[in-house]
Symmetry: C2
Subunit: 255 residues, 2 copies
């Protein structure tokens, strides 16, 4: 199996190197990842500037390329320029810190996987729960096991798996659960400061809110030391609300 | 009604000024938009750098603020810092060029509206179909009419409306249709060039693919000179596939 690996923490981040080394024991791995950290870039792509691609001279069992862009850029270039064909699987990660609830829309890691899904490649995003104490070895070992058990070819087009792994030693992981993207979100606030020339600037801060009644909420699996596996798609239509609107509004003519 | 207006083309773009001027005839409008163009930034937010907020000294019927960040940053700062409370409505646009099909995941304009939806504000993204010949007056006039007819307070939490308006004179618009985010996407390719110091760089290009069998596909309404109105949510779980996975895999224990 040929696996394309990307991330949003940058090409030299500990998480991606741990993942690529672990996968390369069994699979052919190619890393194509951002030159610089791209956390929280969402599904940004680079249209107004060109992209530089560089093969790194690093002594590993796999090839490593850096791209002067975002995770989604890396996936596009990885497929079209580096590999010249679709890989059998794309994995984006291992992210430093979790991607649960509304994180999914901000996350560069998740967007890397969704870009693979758009391109028609079975794709997985993987994150280690704790930003302060990520345990990449646990997540990498889990992914290796998961690929034995889960038929990634069954993942439908335009859909990816969003996997979050508790930051605990591997032998404390109880297993994995199929979960749903939860309503976990942030209550934002801004810390105001004054720069040396008198201008106001602001740091974005946020408090996590976890109050989703759904027993399948992604964060609840993690709290019990299970890995959460959420299938997510690039189609955002709210079907239930669309149906209600259709009942209320016919197609409307103007005038 | 208090309306917060943002966009991704930047605070001085023609589209946002046309929208804000039109809306300010009837509503209290505050513009909080990116200092510089942020097209295709997706749902990026600025976490590693602070944000600068500046009130512009521009002679209009409404206040204009610029933020040194993304559309999602603008919405967060617009609510928490500029207004200090939730507006009654958020509108992101008018974008130069359409946001149909998979554009939705790349679009800064759409992300602005989804950020409003996360914050619990009724939110709308609006785009003029043509990048080359956008017709902002048509889109702005349509939005004014639409707000008379559509109860924005009925939009559920975590959901926004993604509106695309054909680039034709207003009297050629036939009406509006409720639509679904389509499978419209791009077949990417990269044009390789060599920089003056001998390095390779690449321009991302793409050919549009429109082959969605769904009669409610967003782009089909536009082709018939209807405005497309697609309700989209920030929850990406693929429910159908989740159900199939649940039938196949029980919650899995390791060891």
């Amino acid at each position: 199996m040929n696996i394309l690996v990307t991330n949003d923490d940058g090409v030299t981040a500990d998480g991606i190197l741990c993942l690529a080394r672990t996968l390369s024991k069994k699979y052919k791995v190619t890393v194509v990842a951002p030159e610089t950290e791209q956390s929280a870039v969402g599904h940004a792509i680079t249209l107004r500037l060109p992209l530089w691609l560089r093969k790194l001279d690093i002594n590993e069992n796999f090839e490593i390329y850096s791209v002067s862009g975002t995770p989604a850029d890396c996936v596009k270039m990885g497929i079209d320029v580096v590999l010249g064909e679709k890989p059998d699987l794309l994995i984006s990660g291992i992210n430093r810190g979790n991607n649960l609830g509304t994180d999914v829309v901000y996350s560069g890691t998740v967007s890397g996987a969704l870009e693979g899904a758009i391109a028609g490649v079975p794709s997985i995003a993987v994150s280690s729960y704790s930003f302060e104490n990520p345990m990449y070895e646990t997540a990498a070992k889990f992914i290796l096991d998961f690929l034995e058990e889960f038929d990634v070819r069954s993942i439908p087009r335009f859909t990816a798996l969003n996997i979050n792994v508790p930051s605990v030693p591997y032998d404390q992981i109880k297993g994995w659960k199929l979960t749903r993207q939860s309503k976990r979100m942030y209550d934002d606030y801004f810390e105001k400061r004054v720069d040396p020339s008198g201008g106001n600037y602001y740091w974005m801060m946020g408090t996590i809110i976890e109050d989703d009644p759904d027993p399948k909420a992604d964060y609840k699996a993690i709290a019990e030391n299970y890995v959460s596996v959420t299938p997510i798609s690039v189609f955002l239509t709210n079907e239930e609300y669309l149906k209600r609107l259709e009942e209320r509004y016919e197609d409307k003519t103007i005038r």
